[in-house]
Symmetry: C2
Subunit: 402 residues, 2 copies
């Protein structure tokens, strides 16, 4: 029995030891692979803004500019400038994107377009409020980097606009007939959890502390499904399960990412119970969505075990895996739950083996179920300079503190 206990302790130390040994891996990958790749390949010197459709080698294969990804890259370089080191090349890259966004990004009412041409002509209407969320995050971070009032104003105006639109953000583009089957979607409350803290230097601690309980309640009570122990993507306005395609949908990556946002809010509010609950939900989601045959986390599932309608359901996506690494590293340091450490090692091994491109730099985004590359692009309409650098930074800093 004593020997068993010693083994157990040694085992635990082994996991912790292994994890700490990764610190420099994450740091180097961020500073010497990912950020240089985007600095080198994504800047549109002629028209301003960022190219994000980059092939395996980093060549631009499409020149349209997606506001969602412009805002994310602006955020990324501002954030690295604020958090890692005040490097001029990072600030200049941020300013380069901000200037394009400021000029061409919004319609007359201040809504952010979904996409524009390389020279800024609007292509797709602001039907999608996430463009606004990432513009808001980006300009808030740039305001922190520069102290410039005009960036603060853009962030704040956009934030107010998001709050104004939040209950009916699809507006006239909404095709659902809400009278028959009202549903609300998880994405916005999830992002607001993160946005609240990103805006603290602008909206102030008091406002953030008013805001946090509202979004936490929405995520942890309304979208959390007691019966399955999982987070649903769509629920009724009262937070109940609705038995239809949308109501049964699970997006495990979303849920896992949201749980580390919640852990951050738990830390900010000193709420250990909240951190514990977020850890439990995250671990349960990971166990539920791990592909025991080929490894990796499924993209979409159905909470009743039915067939999901998404044809890409079994694919392995970069953001799902790197966000899981953040959630696991964070929950491990906060709870010392050894399950988190074990899972971290498992997800780490899968992720670095399958996503990292050892030949041309940066990481692949889309793998098939077997973990083979499905699309070799480094950036596109949905993959940009965001999840990978943010996660590498987060994990690096968490491991450094263990």
């Amino acid at each position: 029995m004593i020997s068993g206990a010693t083994d157990f302790l040694q085992m635990e130390n082994k996991w912790e030891h292994e994890i700490i040994s990764y610190t420099n891996l994450y740091k180097n990958e961020l500073l010497n692979n990912i950020l240089p790749f985007w600095l080198k390949n994504s800047k549109d010197e002629k028209n301003g803004g960022y190219f994000t459709c980059l092939d395996r080698q980093g060549n631009v294969f499409d020149e349209d500019k997606f506001m969602w990804l412009q805002g994310r890259e602006l955020w990324c370089f501002s954030y690295m400038y604020n958090s890692v080191e005040a490097r001029d090349e990072w600030l200049n890259m941020a300013l380069h994107g901000a200037s394009f966004m400021e000029k061409y990004g919004r319609d007359e009412e201040g809504n952010w377009y979904f996409s524009v041409t390389k020279d800024g002509k609007p292509l797709v209407q602001p039907y999608n409020i996430f463009s606004d969320c990432f513009a808001c995050m980006g300009f808030a971070a740039l305001n922190k980097a520069t102290g410039e009032e005009k960036y603060k104003k853009i962030a704040l105006d956009t934030f107010h606009n998001i709050l104004k639109r939040k209950d009916n953000w699809k507006g006239k583009y909404n095709k659902q007939i809400a009278e028959t089957r009202p549903l609300k979607n998880f994405s916005l409350p999830m992002i607001l959890c993160n946005l609240a803290l990103e805006l603290e230097h602008i909206i102030g601690k008091e406002r953030v502390f008013e805001f946090i309980p509202l979004v936490v309640n929405e995520v942890m009570n309304n979208f959390y499904d007691e019966e399955s122990g999982l987070i649903l993507e769509n629920v009724s306005p009262e937070g109940k399960f609705v038995d239809c395609f949308e109501g049964r949908l699970l997006n495990p990556g979303h849920a896992i990412e949201a749980m580390w946002f919640i852990m951050d809010l738990g830390v900010r509010m000193n709420d250990e119970q909240l951190i514990q609950k977020a850890t439990d939900i995250m671990l349960h989601t990971l166990e539920y969505s791990w592909d025991n045959e080929f490894g990796g986390i499924f993209y979409f599932m159905d909470v009743k075990g039915n067939l999901p309608q998404q044809l890409e359901w079994d694919q392995k996506l970069w953001w799902v895996h790197v966000e899981a690494l953040v959630a696991l590293a964070k929950s491990y340091t906060l709870t010392k739950n050894k399950k988190c450490a074990k899972w971290f090692v498992k997800v780490h091994e899968y992720t670095w083996k399958h996503f990292k491109d050892n030949e041309y730099g940066e990481w692949f985004g889309y793998l098939n179920r077997r973990g083979e590359v499905l699309l070799s692009l480094k950036g596109g309409k949905w993959k940009g300079c965001f999840h990978i650098p943010r996660s590498l930074y987060q994990v690096w800093k968490i491991l450094e503190k263990i």
Copy 2:
């Protein structure tokens, strides 16, 4: 040399012989597997209409009703009644769907909803004109079966509504800013090629003969891209290539299916040149989109060889393959081009091996690149009682006449 020529002739006869031997296979599959499966499993006895979300065994896993698929199943049973044999069970099945559609299918302006609940409450707005196209086809076929004026009126009203909406059918749901980059999409002209002949008994020969040259010109001149020899999914209003994600998109299944619609129009108008051109485009599309590694036809491609944005691009879908069989059988009998016969055998072997479910009846719809079942459903939000029975019927009748 003489011996070579004999071999060649024997070879050709071998292909033809092999193809003819399939006749009963197609007939039996239609009459003893596919139609009985839908008769048994898709009828909603309580509320009327058809369930289309059927799992591998035929159990209903979702009860929403998608107008697109209601219209297609109505068409299918009416068509079989008109074309194969006047069986009461087929007519009753058609009437069962028609009555539900008539009661609950349309909004106040006569547009067909995208979906309704099992008991007919509207769920998703008529943002999609293809619901209207298939309702029109369905009621036209039911009018032919019954002679009932009221079905003719529904078909005709819907047809006029489609023509009225055709240049801006997305209406307020359109998110594209056309001033910046106007594009038109291939789907509607493609379906109109087929719809024209389906409505001949209602709108008359003269109207059909006015209509045909317009849709043929649209498909064979505007959407056909001279440079690649392929059909594009989206072009400029003048029919030119536009270098963006939508403009570069190829949907080989769409192009191949459209080519047999064009062959039908060629037959109707006695235009051998048109049949020849459609055959050439179809064969070229097939050669371009065949997966030489794992077999089967890719779902989406990019005309410039870039990475498509569709994550499901490499999947093998039922409708693509069965429509290719129709196009190949048809073009072979019309042109006697031996390439069509060879390709027919190749696609036939792939299709029957991978899609047919020998255990629970009907066919799978969604395979991954390797031809393994990705989703085991027999029907869903997009797969219903349409492509497989229509194709089996078409191939059966074509082979019977060789």
